[in-house]
């Protein structure tokens, strides 16, 4: 197997790059009306500390992009820069651009509140509201001025999150009464309810058991048909299983994180260009 891979290396590389270009071109066409997400020379500071150094990243439309790397390398910081969640950290400061729907989201004219409706987020620890399952989903839509039928919306979102059959008879029970995996799918359904285009996931399975993890991963594959997904994960098997593209991040001597390699997931896991990536994905490091 290893031998085949090595001998076929040049051919595979050509194929991979050709596919990347094709995907990029297809995405380019949709970029204006749908909005593609990309970072350009992005730097994030916490006070004087440089947390992320000059990141350039093109997130493919309706694909799953995984961000991997050792702890503390700035994966979550990068993810949170995409929907301006870092705004809530008083010392955080951003330089460079993140472009979404043809606009730099750090432009003063952009309202982060409106942005976060289009770029939703699922967090590391399931964090349903301490309210009923129904309200968990309906609330986000309600505050964003949803004018349709909330009952239908709740059902649709729970079905999309593969949770409907488990909770349809207890919609008025607290979201906290569910199991960890169910709670995380509830959080996913909640994020879907406000009609996002992009879903950011910050280690969504790290608090879940393997079975619940698999369910979430299956769900991600299904959702990728309609949504752009960016996932931060510590679990390399997970990145390999679910993602189409993988960005490898690493800290430098000043503890500033940067993307050292970004390619199709297959390439990252089979023929990484960077020595550090290879060490990391093969488990020799971190």
């Amino acid at each position: 197997m290893t031998e085949t891979l090595t001998t076929n290396l040049p051919r595979l590389a050509t194929l991979a790059s050709a596919r990347t270009t094709a995907a990029a071109q297809a995405a380019e066409g949709l970029a204006l009306q749908e909005g593609r997400l990309s970072a350009h020379n992005l730097q994030v500071y916490y006070g004087d500390f440089l947390a992320i150094r000059s990141v350039d990243l093109d997130i493919a439309l309706r694909r799953i992009t995984a961000i991997i790397g050792p702890s503390g390398c700035g994966k979550s910081t990068l993810l949170r820069a995409f929907n301006r969640m870092n705004d809530f950290i008083p010392t955080a400061r951003v330089e460079g651009e993140i472009r979404f729907r043809g606009q730099n989201i750090y432009n003063p004219a952009v309202d982060p509140t409106a942005l976060r409706r289009r770029i939703g987020m699922v967090f590391q620890k399931p964090n349903p509201f301490p309210k009923s399952i129904y309200e968990n989903i309906a609330w986000g839509a309600h505050i964003n001025g949803f004018r349709g039928n909330p009952d239908e919306l709740v059902e649709t979102c729970l079905r999309k999150a593969a949770l409907w059959d488990e909770v349809k008879d207890k919609l008025d029970q607290s979201g906290l009464s569910l199991s960890g995996g169910q709670q995380q799918r509830l959080c996913l359904a909640r994020a879907l309810a406000v009609g996002p285009e992009v879903i950011l996931m910050d280690e969504p399975c790290s608090a879940l058991d393997p079975i619940a993890t698999l369910k979430i991963e299956d769900l991600m594959r299904e959702l990728a048909a309609n949504y752009t997904i960016v996932i931060v994960t510590h679990n390399m098997q997970q990145a390999a299983r679910v993602s189409d593209f993988t960005a490898m991040m690493m800290m430098d001597d000043q503890r500033a994180g940067s993307v050292i390699e970004f390619d199709e997931t297959r390439t990252i896991f089979t023929r990484p260009r960077d020595r550090r990536t290879e060490d990391y994905v093969t488990g020799r490091f971190g």
Partner: protein
């Protein structure tokens, strides 16, 4: 190197460590015992004064008023007794307040006891003496008050709760003071709760970590420790004097009051407890997990939507607990009320925010500072009422909080 060699570097001090642990455990137990003894002493002391034997003497022996016991007399006969023994002027006045013909038999009987029989308390003994030295007390009473009879009296009774202030210990009650206290904490709550919670929300959710905001925070923390008499001085200068036209109700056309009203007292108390409410509410808001805020912000909620729908409901049990604690402080405060001008003798009930007022702690202070022992009994009885009000308030807060947080957990 090897295990026995490593063993040698540890001194076998296990028994000494356990001994030291036992000593500390005894110290902790002793401290708890001291607290319990102090509490028991407080309770015992109050109880001792609030129940006991009294020597009661009637101005006129009821047996001389009629040939049967007063309880069995008909209304007409009771009316006749009143007419015989009251001066015509007093009789006329009582009749014009409410015609005797319309009064019930019970009301007339009560009137005869109060106005004609006029029982007076001549002496009182504390509970422990009443129980253990009955013989001595009986001898003492027979010697000093030959016409009096000994009765066992609980100073907290329905009459005590329902009667207004009086200079006669037999008739004195705390209705006026109780109503005054209720009015006071009502005004305090209405003023301090919204202002305090709103400040806490601002400081926790909106204010940046600037130098100015840190200074404000430090000042609020310090204000919580300022002695209450100083708040009294502030209330006197601000509410009674400077804002007198407002707090006296003069702007509404009231002319019979000055600034020393319930409103001034309540607002002063409000200032006093405001830092407590702010600090407690901040504590409660800070305890709301940030994951909840992130969840809301991540859906495109504004700061206000997040605060209103998630942070405040989650923090409410803590905020309520803090508020109730602050109210407990307000209901027991005495010093600022004295400065602001609570009346120590006020027989008329408060009728609104612009009334003159008295309050439970003022009443207790007043009674306790009188020389006669009977007023000390009254003070003890009033303390029991005050403590009961406090316990009731705290119990209500705990019930409210538990019910609410159970609702949040969804079980």
């Amino acid at each position: 190197m090897s295990a026995p060699a490593a063993e040698g570097v540890f001194r076998s001090n296990l028994s000494a460590r356990h001994r030291r642990g036992r000593v500390w455990r005894a110290v902790f137990l002793g401290s708890t015992a001291v607290a319990l003894i102090a509490l028991a002493a407080l309770g015992g002391n109050i109880l001792r004064d609030s129940v006991g034997l009294v020597a009661v003497q009637d101005a006129i022996d009821p047996g001389r008023l009629a040939d049967r016991p007063l309880e069995r007399l008909a209304p007409a006969e009771l009316m006749a007794i009143l007419q015989d023994h009251l001066s015509p002027a007093v009789f006329q006045r009582l009749d014009s307040e409410q015609p005797f013909a319309e009064r019930s038999r019970r009301a007339l009987h009560k009137l005869v006891i109060e106005r004609v029989v006029e029982p007076q308390i001549l002496a009182s003994w504390p509970l422990d003496e009443s129980l253990l030295e009955r013989g001595r007390i009986e001898a003492e009473a027979a010697r000093d008050y030959p016409r009096a009879r000994l009765e066992f009296r609980a100073w907290v009774n329905t009459n005590f709760l329902s009667r207004p202030m009086s200079s006669d210990p037999m008739r004195a009650g705390i209705r006026t003071a109780l109503l005054g206290s209720l009015w006071l904490i009502g005004i305090t709550l209405v003023f301090a709760f919204p202002v305090g919670v709103a400040s806490a929300v601002y400081l926790e959710e909106y204010a940046s970590r600037s130098r100015l905001n840190r200074a404000i925070q430090t000042n609020i923390d310090n204000l919580a420790g300022v002695p209450s008499i100083i708040y009294g001085m502030l209330g006197l200068a601000l509410f009674v004097r400077a804002l007198g036209p407002l707090t006296s109700g003069a702007f509404l056309g009231l002319t019979d009051t000055n600034g020393r009203t319930i409103l001034s007292g309540g607002l002063t108390m409000g200032l006093l407890v405001l830092p407590l409410i702010i600090i407690n509410a901040q504590e409660a808001i800070r305890a709301v997990p940030s994951s909840l805020r992130e969840a809301a912000y991540g859906l495109g909620a504004t700061r206000w939507q997040t605060v209103w729908s998630h942070v405040l409901p989650q923090a409410l049990p803590g905020i309520l607990t803090g508020t109730i604690l602050a109210m407990s402080r307000a209901i027991g405060e005495t010093a600022p009320l004295i400065v602001v001008g609570a009346s120590t003798f006020n027989p008329s009930d408060p009728t609104g925010p612009f009334s003159r007022f008295s309050a439970l702690p003022i009443q207790i202070y007043n009674w306790a500072s009188r020389p006669q022992a009977e007023f000390h009994n009254l003070a003890a009885a009033a303390i029991i009422v005050l403590l009961a009000a406090l316990l009731g308030l705290n119990a209500a807060a705990i019930l409210l909080r538990d019910r609410y947080s159970r609702g949040l957990r969804g079980t």
